[in-house]
C-alpha cells in the first residue's frame, strides 16, 4: 500500500515553523528566510509537477508559462485596474485552468517526446507573448509597482510574515496532494503511468485523469506566480523563460519525481543553489545545473529520496 508516513511531515512542519526564529538568531543565515520564501513558491509548482510527471508519467516542459500567467494576471489586474490582489489571484488561477484545459486536451493525447515538445513549444509561445504584448505586460522591461498582500488589515509586509503565508499555501497543497496520492485517484494516475491499455480496460478514464492532474498542477503554478509577483512587487518575462521550465525539471529530477517529498527537497536545494551557493559563479551556473541533471539521471534515477534505499540495499548485499 502506498502510505506516506506522517512523522516526517510533522517534523518538517515544526522545522518550517521555527525556521525564521532560528535564522534570525544566526547572522550568517539571517537572509535565508527570504530565500525560503522563494523555495516555498517553487515548491508549490514542483508539488503539482511531481504528481503530473512522477505519478501520472506525463512530461511537461512548459510550466513556466502557467507560473507566468498567474504572475501577469495578478500584476495586470492590480497595477492597471487597481483591483484587490486576492480576487486577482483567483482570477489568475481560473484563467490558467482554462488555458491548461485548452492546451492540455490535445497535448495529453500525445506521448513521450511529442508531449515534451508540445509543452515546450507552448511555454516558449507564452514567453514570447509576455515580451511582445507591451501594452499589457510592459514587454521586456517588465511591470513594477505590484502591490503587496494584506488580509483584513493584516499586512504581509515583512519577510517573515510572507514566509508564513507562502509556506501555509505549500502545506495546504502538500497535504491535499498527499491525500490524492493515497486515494483511488492516485492509484489511477499511477496505473496510467504503468500501462494505459490496462488502466482503461479497468475503467479508468485516461484522458479525464490526465487533464485533471495537468490542470491541478497548472493552478498550483499560477498561485505560485501570483505569490511571486506580490512578493517581489516586480516581474519581467525573463523569469518565465524556457530555462525556468528546465529548472523545474531539474528540481523534481534532483529530489526524485516518484516521491512527493522529492518535490520539496529538489525545489529547496535548487533555490538555495541559485540564490546563494552558486550566486558568485554566475557564469558557471548553467553548466552546473546541466551537470547536476545529467549525474542525477545517470546515477540516481530516483533522485535524492532514493538514496536511503540505495544505501540500504548496499548493507543488505
Amino acid at each position: 500500500m502506498l502510505r506516506i508516513a506522517k512523522l516526517p511531515i510533522a517534523v518538517f512542519t515544526v522545522l518550517i515553523i521555527i525556521f525564521p526564529w532560528v535564522a534570525r538568531e544566526i547572522s550568517a543565515i539571517s537572509h535565508y528566510t527570504d530565500i525560503m520564501v522563494f523555495a516555498g513558491i517553487y515548491c508549490l509548482i514542483t508539488i503539482g509537477l511531481s504528481l503530473l510527471m512522477g505519478y501520472a508519467g506525463q512530461i511537461s516542459i512548459g510550466h513556466a508559462a502557467f507560473f507566468g500567467i498567474g504572475a501577469y494576471v495578478s500584476a495586470i489586474l492590480t497595477v492597471r485596474y487597481g483591483l484587490n490582489p486576492w480576487p486577482c489571484m483567483l482570477i489568475g488561477m481560473i484563467v490558467t485552468a482554462v488555458v491548461a484545459i485548452l492546451v492540455g486536451t490535445p497535448s495529453l493525447k500525445l506521448k513521450g517526446h511529442y508531449l515534451a515538445m508540445a509543452t515546450l513549444a507552448f511555454g516558449v509561445i507564452i514567453y514570447i507573448i509576455f515580451n511582445e504584448e507591451v501594452e499589457w505586460t510592459g514587454g521586456p522591461d517588465g511591470m513594477p509597482g505590484i502591490p503587496g498582500l494584506s488580509l483584513f488589515g493584516f499586512e504581509f509586509d515583512s519577510v517573515v510574515r510572507y514566509f508564513y503565508l507562502v509556506w501555509g499555501f505549500v502545506f495546504a497543497a502538500f497535504i491535499f496532494t498527499i491525500n490524492v496520492i493515497q486515494s483511488g485517484t492516485g492509484r489511477a494516475l499511477r496505473a496510467i503511468h504503468a500501462s494505459e491499455p490496462a488502466a482503461s480496460a479497468m475503467g479508468v478514464d485516461i484522458s479525464r485523469f490526465k487533464i485533471m492532474v495537468f490542470v491541478y498542477s497548472a493552478i498550483l503554478a499560477s498561485l505560485a506566480g501570483s505569490l511571486y509577483a506580490h512578493y517581489l512587487n516586480f516581474i519581467n518575462p525573463s523569469t518565465f523563460d524556457l530555462f525556468f521550465s528546465i529548472k523545474l525539471l531539474i528540481m523534481i529530477a534532483l529530489g526524485g519525481m516518484h516521491n512527493i517529498w522529492g518535490a520539496i527537497i529538489g525545489a529547496g536545494l535548487i533555490t538555495f543553489l541559485s540564490y546563494e551557493w552558486l550566486y558568485y559563479f554566475e557564469e558557471l551556473e548553467v553548466v552546473v545545473y546541466g551537470a547536476i541533471l545529467l549525474i542525477v539521471t545517470i546515477f540516481l534515477p530516483h533522485g535524492l529520496v532514493g538514496v536511503p534505499g540505495i544505501i540500504r540495499s548496499w548493507f543488505r548485499s
Partner: protein
C-alpha cells in the same frame, strides 16, 4: 443490472476490422450465452486478440455491431465498456509494475468506487470509507486466486504464473458480467496450467461468463462449453468441444497453418 436479462451476454454481429488494407476480421458473427465458458481458437494471426480488442473497446470495429446485454457498445471507449461490466486480461502481461499486488487488484475496483479528485484531496470521510471497502474487497479476491499472503509484494516481483493469476484477479475486481481472458495458460507449466483451469472454472461457477482465447487445446477442451474457431479473421466453425474436435475444416485450418 438490466431489468430484462438477455439470454446472450454478448452478440458479435457482422464485425469487420481493417488495418489499412488488411482485413483482420471480416463479417464475424457469434453469440455468447449467459453463464458459459466460451473459447475462441484459431491459428496464429487468425484475429483472436484483435477481436478481444474490438469487444473491449481498444479500437472500434470498421464495421458491424457488438451488443452487450442487448445494448450496442462498439462505439464506446474502453473505460465505458469496463463500466458496463466487461473486464479483460492481456496476452502480454500488462500489470501495473509500479504497484503492489494488492494495489493492482484495488485498481481493478475502480469502476465500482468512483474516485473523486476533490473528495480524496480534502480527505472527506466517505472517501476514506471507500478506500477501506476497496481494500477488503481486494483482499478477498487475492485469497480467492491464492495470492493472499503476497499482497504487499511488488507486482513485477511475482513469477510469471502468479502474474497471470494476478491479472485475472484484477479483472475480477470490477465484478464483471463477462470476463475476457487472453491466453491465460500461455507460458505456464503443467501444475500452473492446472491451477489456471480450475480458477477459470471457479470464476464461472460464480456466475461470471467467460470468453477465452487459448492455444492450449487441453485447457480449451476441458473447460469450455462452446468453441468458436477463427481463421483469417473469419468464423470457420462453432460448436461444442466434441463437434469442434471432429470438424474437418478446423483440422484443415490447423494442419494448413502448420504445414
Amino acid at each position: 443490472m438490466n431489468a430484462v436479462r438477455e439470454e446472450n451476454v454478448l452478440e458479435v454481429q457482422g464485425v469487420g476490422m481493417a488495418f489499412g488494407g488488411l482485413m483482420a476480421l471480416s463479417n464475424l458473427n457469434f453469440k455468447v450465452k449467459r453463464g458459459i465458458i466460451k473459447a475462441i481458437i484459431g491459428p496464429n494471426g487468425a484475429g483472436k486478440t484483435t477481436l478481444f480488442n474490438v469487444i473491449t473497446g481498444s479500437f472500434p470495429p470498421t464495421e458491424g455491431r457488438v451488443r452487450f446485454n442487448g445494448q450496442p457498445i462498439e462505439h464506446l471507449k474502453a473505460h465505458k465498456i469496463a463500466d458496463r461490466g466487461i473486464s479483460r486480461t492481456f496476452q502480454t502481461i500488462e500489470l501495473f509494475d509500479n504497484m503492489t499486488v494488492l494495489e493492482n487488484v484495488m485498481l481493478g475496483c475502480h469502476t465500482r468506487f468512483r474516485a473523486s479528485f476533490m473528495a480524496s484531496g480534502f480527505l472527506l470521510p466517505h472517501s476514506r470509507q471507500k478506500e477501506e471497502q476497496i481494500r477488503s474487497s481486494a483482499m478477498k479476491i487475492l485469497k480467492f486466486i491464492g495470492l493472499g499472503d503476497k499482497f504487499n509484494e511488488p507486482a513485477d516481483s511475482l513469477p510469471l504464473g502468479e502474474q497471470k493469476m494476478l491479472e485475472i484477479g484484477r479483472a475480477l475486481a470490477s465484478e464483471p458480467e463477462l470476463v475476457c481472458l487472453d491466453e491465460p495458460a500461455s507460458g505456464l507449466n503443467e501444475t500452473e496450467t492446472h491451477l489456471a483451469s480450475s480458477l477459470i472454472k471457479a470464476i464461472n461457477a460464480k456466475g461470471i461468463t467467460v470468453l477465452l482465447v487459448e492455444h492450449d487445446m487441453k485447457v480449451v477442451m476441458n473447460i469450455s462449453d462452446e468453441i468458436v474457431v477463427l481463421n483469417y479473421g473469419q468464423r470457420i466453425a462453432e460448436g461444442s468441444p466434441e463437434e469442434i474436435r471432429n470438424n474437418t475444416k478446423v483440422i484443415e485450418a490447423y494442419l494448413g497453418s502448420e504445414a
